[in-house]
């Protein structure tokens, strides 16, 4: 394992709500003294408290003149790289994830109890696809949203927004820490989109003999305003009893104008996706609790910056 904390430049890593793992890119100038090559395990630690910020495997390297550049992924990378055959038969989601990880030789970290029963055959599927499919089923049935995160070599499953960040920024050793609203930049961007909006949901059975509508829910007011945007969800026979929940949870999730605000700020290692963050900046028009959707961190020339995208909770 190679510690790159004090010797690399142009570090950048990001946490995204739609991706499974973290990607870290970094450079060495002049000489690759550590003999970092694709396959090397690298670790990045916080200088102050030695907390591990990133641990993962170098996947690609390049050299341009005297600059060596590397791209590394955390161990979730492996979840996208193999195909697997696995069958679940009325297995609860927690056990299903544990069984999958065991088959892959990945250690299960903290996985909350999710009672949703999974009955499905996966043949030549990517482990990451299976994991997403399981948490999708949990969401459809219960309305609770979960995500995955590598914690070193273990895979944790966490509920979205269950962790609150109390990000305090220390600008200098002799100054008291300040809150996020004191370190956000001015050029934030506010985005709104109806691109993924759905205001009518139909749940149908996916039996091979015949297809029938089990449930349909819609929001007439939204349809009147935005036009009909309909989603059809197929469910297995075993989930028919859940069709009402599935329809309502999907409508609740998709029947809205998606908003996000991109905020440049000073860097803080705790700024990660799916954490709750309190911001109190009336000048920026950001007051209240926000959910971090993504966080991109850069550390270059002794300056640590981050850009976070948040949505109102």
């Amino acid at each position: 394992m190679i510690d790159i904390s004090n010797q690399s430049g142009n570090l950048s890593w990001s946490y995204q709500f739609q991706t499974l793992g973290v990607n870290l890119t970094f450079d060495f100038a002049n000489v690759n003294s550590n003999k970092v090559v694709p396959g090397s395990i690298v670790i990045l630690k916080d200088e102050a408290d030695q907390e591990v910020i990133f641990i993962g495997i170098v996947v690609t390297s390049s050299r341009k003149g005297v600059i060596y550049s590397f791209s590394a992924y955390d161990f979730a990378w492996y979840l996208n790289k193999s195909d697997i055959i696995i069958q679940f038969n009325k297995t609860n989601a927690t056990t299903a994830i544990e069984q999958l990880l065991k088959k892959l030789g990945i250690e299960a970290g903290d996985i909350p109890y999710m009672k949703t029963l999974i009955t499905k055959i996966y043949i030549d599927a990517k482990p990451s696809e299976i994991l997403y499919d399981i948490i999708d089923q949990v969401f459809l049935e219960t309305g609770s949203k979960y995500f995955f995160e590598m914690n070193g070599s273990k895979l944790d499953v966490k509920e979205v927004g269950s962790e609150i960040i109390d990000a305090s920024f220390k600008l200098a050793d002799n100054l008291a820490p300040v809150k996020i609203e004191d370190v956000i930049g001015e050029d934030f961007t506010f985005n709104e989109s109806i691109d993924n909006m759905k205001n009518s949901i139909i749940v149908v059975s996916s039996e091979s003999d015949y297809i029938r509508i089990l449930e349909s829910v819609k929001d007439d007011e939204s349809i009147h305003r935005y036009g009909l945007l309909q989603e059809v969800i197929k469910v297995d026979q075993k989930n028919e009893a859940q069709s009402r929940n599935i329809a309502l949870n999907t409508l609740k999730e998709l029947n809205k104008v998606m908003t996000s605000t991109s905020i440049p700020t000073l860097g803080h290692k705790d700024l990660k996706h799916y954490r709750k963050l309190r911001i109190n900046s009336s000048e920026a028009g950001l007051v209240g609790e926000y959910l971090i959707l993504s966080a991109s961190h850069t550390y270059s020339e002794d300056t640590y910056m981050a850009t976070i995208a948040v949505e109102v909770m």
Binding site: Q18, T19, I85, I86, I121, I123, D124, A125, Q237
Partner: protein, 116 residues
């Protein structure tokens, strides 16, 4: 950054979907609690995931008889029903399966054996 990920996801959506073709299975237990395993027993399909052709389902056959039954030099007139029971799918026999579109249910087409 987000738009790059959106683009990547769009590409991903267009990845060819892996579709399992016809596959040979092994009967683990016969009807009525039919179980068939595929992929070296890694996946076990129970009766609720299986469709079966009429030919394979008929485990009894009833025929009406009315006429003369001749056995060597004995002639006997018969009038009635004859029911024959046969076990069609036996343990360890091989069957050909075709999956449904979502790969979650299978049709047993017929019994098969390797030609050579």
């Amino acid at each position: 950054m987000d738009s790059i990920i959106d683009l990547a996801k769009e590409f991903r959506k267009r990845d060819p979907k892996k579709i399992l073709g016809p596959i040979v299975g092994r009967v683990l237990s016969p009807l009525p609690d039919l179980q068939v395993s595929i992929l070296s027993d890694q996946v076990v399909l129970s009766a609720d995931k299986l469709y079966i052709t009429e030919k394979l389902y008929k485990d009894t056959e009833t025929v009406f008889l009315n006429g003369d039954l001749i056995l060597d030099d004995i002639t006997k007139s018969v009038n009635g029903e004859l029911t024959m029971t046969k076990e069609i799918l036996k343990k360890d026999e091989k069957v050909m399966l075709v999956p449904t579109e979502n790969g979650q249910e299978f049709f047993i087409i017929d019994k098969v054996r390797k030609a050579k």
